[in-house]
Symmetry: C2
Subunit: 236 residues, 2 copies
DNA sequence: TCAAGCTCAAAAGTAATACTTATTCAAGAA
DNA sequence: TTCTTGAATAAGTATTACTTTTGAGCTTGA
């Protein structure tokens, strides 16, 4: 996707909208954008087109490009997620994504238990073991890496592309959580045990067991975050 | 969004990709697209740009526009969902969406119980009553309407934009289910009772109750679909 | 023979310009 | 006051020209 100007302009404009610097209802004119970014009409138009397909704006003749209400945005677009995570909306986005995760991952575990390939089941168990080891060794960074790999693999193994697509999102949440001090100093033994339990349940095709164990994981994560948020109030 | 040519070309091309008529790896050249659709370079370029942001294609200089692997598609894009539901991928898409729904809606119910406005709680109870009435009267079409409204309201009331955005998806699934004979002739009494239970739990802020009752609903839906699918095998 | 590097051409990216269409706003007539 | 009409405006569409990247084939030298 080697285009330069396009990507550049899109990033700036999109981020501005995603973080509310351009409030809903604000009107832009395309020639004004050309001037502001020193880009050609072609580039300006295509950027607007893209924003439009993401639901961030609508274009009306004789009026201009209107910033849409957040309710109409495509909140699952990877770009929009990134803009929010990188901007002032970070805290809210992280909360939103965590909630989504808490709903999706138990289901994903269930379907993974139903449909994962033998190879995937094996790798999942292996990752479970690695998590135990690195947790014991208190190697937080590699623990995080394996944690992300574990959830990624599980979502992919669910055989549902909509679940699989959320793996990048989950990775962001997990990484953002540790980098924001919303995580205990060392991995909780129970959480690790639950990961191993999920892997084992998936391995033997125990759908209810996998779903239940995964629910334990996300519930715990939810509690941790709630606790962390209430202690350092509004931890932006 | 009054553009004509653009939308038209996008729809045809996007649908072709979404339904596998243009296999991953297939290469298009933009001047070839211009010719094929009788559109200008501008339109062709913008269409390609949009497809690119949806993850359906990537463009490489000196090569052309390459159809991407489905794994890279943005499966939450409303357009893509529509193309799949309207095309040969309908059955698979419906399954995928139903699974997503089964994960998300119980969580949404939980957060709705936590955060719904008084007005929303009231409307939810009202919709519950309506569902009972129309079920008793065996008025299937208005029952469907209220059912959709119920789930839509609940997802919106969850206060999570990513949940709220799925309301259109849920509506498609519910509508598609009835129009495809994947639904019993008349609403099941238990399902109706569960809807009422969800509304009541949300009303009094019973998070666990709301989540649990909603899980009952989606589990039942899952079983119905599984049964229907296994009876008329591969019901495309 | 083979690998490194060069040249060329193909196709996307960018720019500029002219023309078309729809829509708002306002002026003027009923 | 309200409806009609028309002009102004900004997006939509089309065309053309120029730039940049890059894959492929060719040349050259080890």
């Amino acid at each position: 996707m080697g285009s330069d100007r396009h990507e550049e302009v899109l990033d700036v404009l999109g981020a501005a909208i995603a973080n509310g610097e351009l409030a809903p209802g604000a009107v832009l004119r395309s020639d004004e954008l050309q001037e502001r970014f020193g880009a050609s009409r072609t580039v300006a138009r295509e950027v607007v087109r893209v924003l439009e397909t993401m639901g961030l704006t609508t274009s009306r003749r004789r009026v201009g490009v209107i910033v849409s209400d957040p309710a109409g945005w495509n909140h699952y677009d990877p770009r929009l997620i990134r803009w929010q995570l990188d901007g002032s909306e970070r805290a809210g986005a992280l909360r939103t994504l965590t909630e989504l995760r808490s709903g999706v991952e138990p289901s994903a575990a269930r379907f993974a238990a139903l449909r994962a390939t033998p190879e995937e089941r094996g790798r999942l168990r292996a990752l479970g073991h690695r998590l135990e080891e690195t947790a014991r060794a208190r190697d937080l960074t590699t623990f995080l890496g394996h944690d992300i790999a574990f959830h990624d693999l599980l979502l992919t193994a669910s055989g549902n592309p909509m679940f699989a697509q959320l793996s990048t999102v989950v990775a962001e949440v997990l990484a953002g959580r540790t980098s924001h001090g919303l995580m205990p100093e060392e991995p909780q033994p129970e959480a690790v045990a639950l990961h191993v339990e999920v892997a084992a349940a998936v391995d033997v095709g125990d759908v209810d067991g996998a779903e239940c164990a995964m629910r334990g994981i996300v519930d715990q994560a939810r509690e941790e975050i709630a606790a962390a948020v209430s202690s350092n109030l509004g931890g932006q």
